[in-house]
Amino acid sequence: MSLKAPLFAQGKTPSTLAPASTAAHQIFDLSIFVVTITGAIFLAVGGLLATALYKFRARRSDPMIEPAQIYGSTQIELAWTVVPILIVVVLFLTTARIIFAIQDAPKPPGALDVTAIGHQFWWEFRYPKYGIVTANELHIPVSPELAPKPTFLKLTSADVNHSFWIPQLAGKTDLIANHVNTMWLAPQKSGLFLGQCAQFCGSQHAMMLLRVYVDTPEQFDAWIKNQQRSGRQDAQVAAGRKVFETQACMNCHAVAGTAAAGRFGPDLTHLMSRATLASGAMDNTPENLRQWIKAPDTFKQSALMPAMQLNDEQLDQVTAYLLTLK
């Protein structure tokens, strides 16, 4: 319960005060500048107000006559019009520089392209260059200052508006259907960064969580290699695969290398390479997976995946099949 933990980013707090990428650093530095100016204004004006209240409070000893009436003063009023205008000019010029630096940053060669698509209530990520489709957990390479390798995101939505927000890596950008937005991430250190959807998108907006893994070059290459392999053909789980292909699962989900090519739900080709299920609603364990297929409502009320009405045997078989999708 110490104040230190919540106030300063420790562990998993997605704090804007602990920037870890180029853009987030620029925003953080700008915010320190703005806080300094507004803080100074607060001290000056608030101090003046407090002084007035203290100094001119009515006392019993005061003579019972009205104080001197002062109706205005052109010089003073002019002064407190001009000074704020000057402050605004300084603030604006500083801000404009950062707006253009971030929004109009050129795309260097070697930048990675990723398309992010918002869905009610999960994230789809596509890596066009590598032919990879994945969900909810984005992997991007670290971008060292000397050899930058930023990731350029194209953002759009399959249904309602969403907003992509990883506070430590960048500000948020909305995902809007019929409309493509762009942003870039240049994280300077590797690790896991948390975020979530920041635009109310329906009943499970709160559980549209987002994880970004910033990988070292080696980790990233290994991850790409694994994702590029197609779905496994494991004879031992053939029964489960049959359930998957005959019980409507494949209407919504895709598994590369099989007949399943649905696009309403997350791509499951490498389901077990992800740490969480249902866009971060719970850990990806065999029990949770089984329970999720049986009754998605227990974890995520009014998620769009229906309960599949499988009997226990089918449930075991399909879970066993999904567990092989690594």
Binding site: P6, I85, F100
Partner: protein, 564 residues
Amino acid sequence: MSDYSVSAHEAFGPPVSVKKRGTFLESLHAWVVTVDHKRLGILYILYSTFFLLVAGAEALLMRLQLAYPHNQLLSPQVYNRFFTMHGTTMVFLVGMPFLFGFGNYIVPLQIGARDMAFPRLNAFSFWLTAFGGLLLYYSFLGGGGLYGVGNAPDVGWFAYAPLTARSFSPGHATDYWALALIVSGFGTLGTAVNIIATIVSMRCKGMTLMRMPLFTWLFLVVSMLTLVTITPLTAAQFMLLIDRYLGGHFFDTQAGGSSLVWIHFFWIFGHPEVYVLVMPAFAIANEVIPVFCRKAIFGYPAMVAASVGIMFVSLGVWAHHMFTVGMTSVSNAFFTLSTMLVGVPTGIKIFNWIATLWGGRIRFTTPMLFCIGFLFQFLIAGLTGIMLSVSPWDWQLHNSYFVIAHFHYVLVGAVVFCIFAALYFWYPKATGKLMDETLGKWHFWLFTIGFHITFDTMHFLGLLGMPRSIYTYQPDRGWNFLNLIVSIGGVIQGIAVLIFAFNFVRSYFRGKIAGDDPWDAWTLEWTTSSPPPAYNFEQTPEVHSRRPLWDLKHPDDPDWEYEA
């Protein structure tokens, strides 16, 4: 009617119960058919105070839900309905009706008029507004078909398309939301037209525009602003209904429509709306502060100019709600600048209030305490507003708890504080009784402490990455402790409001007799009796300065000798 009761008396003896019931119905009837601006003003105030308690209860339930992670007090849908209804109610059924009702009561008195320009339009506007509120809350009962329970709107008070399209929002909840706001919006438009007409054409002899009390000036400005802001909202609501029922494609992205069109329309209404709510708060502070520091307002012409300036600038800043939707860098820079510029006229106002206090003799009565709270909180709200106008930082702060904290500083810290100040200040005029000062101070201190515990803390939650509109959060995010604090602050505010409600009702029956001019004030409403008679003035007054009662009280040193 009286003939009948006389004959009944002769036939069956004294009709005690019949007569009692008759007087109640008669007085109810008198209130329902009234066209007196004072009675309508009181109806507005009672109506909005009722909804203040309702929307406050919704807020408290939401805070209980968020007190700790993975709480299951409210289901996701119920939480989403509550935050939609809380926001919609507070803006449309509490803020606007209260402030316009208040203007309705005070403006004719302050300008020495006998009533509003169009008394029957005035009554019609009130009943439209009231019907809008009923329609919105009826959705809790009737939204899911005939008496299907609990299908209130759950799309956020901003109702971004395409979440409001029929494919994502089936049922009638969203229709209730749109229809209720159309209906109450027409009521608001009627009142705005009425206030403008009253101020322009019904001022008493001698009251030039530059001698009007600042309260009245601000209501003139706000009413003009209302005309240009409610209109796009109403248009957007119609477009939404056309999309939902007549196959229109304004906002339907599945058919090539645009979500951005809704967002623009909504904020072209939504941003000036903030000033529609906050400028009446300024109006109240402009009356209360001078009276309790015994000084004329400092820089009257500058205050008028700043108000008109805010009105115009506020129409050009709406897209600062849209820094994250993917506008060009040039647009972002433009709206950053225009938003920052609002700080200049607003700053002039704050400085002039401080200058008014300077050299005064300040009495810390309950209405004055609420205005002082307003000054500090509005200063902070203005500065966090500057932070949000810095668009790169807004990319972080937008839709986070920082934004919630900022606009509650404006809407509670400024508007609600001034509403309370106004209630304590003018209650004796409307009822003839003073509200209890001891209970008033308990109310003020508890509410202020609760307010700061709740909303100061929310700034930090926003900086730590907590988004708005979420019914629960993960326990590992470092937000648990701060959320608990926020919820505790919410409970303290709830207790303070109950003290106020008790004081409000009790003072009506047990309060001290107020007299005509209990605060030793200067504007015309204090020359009439408390409560004022029908048609306000026995003889329409004539004024020679901005403070007619000052001139009466100080014949040796009248105001008009000094006014520019």
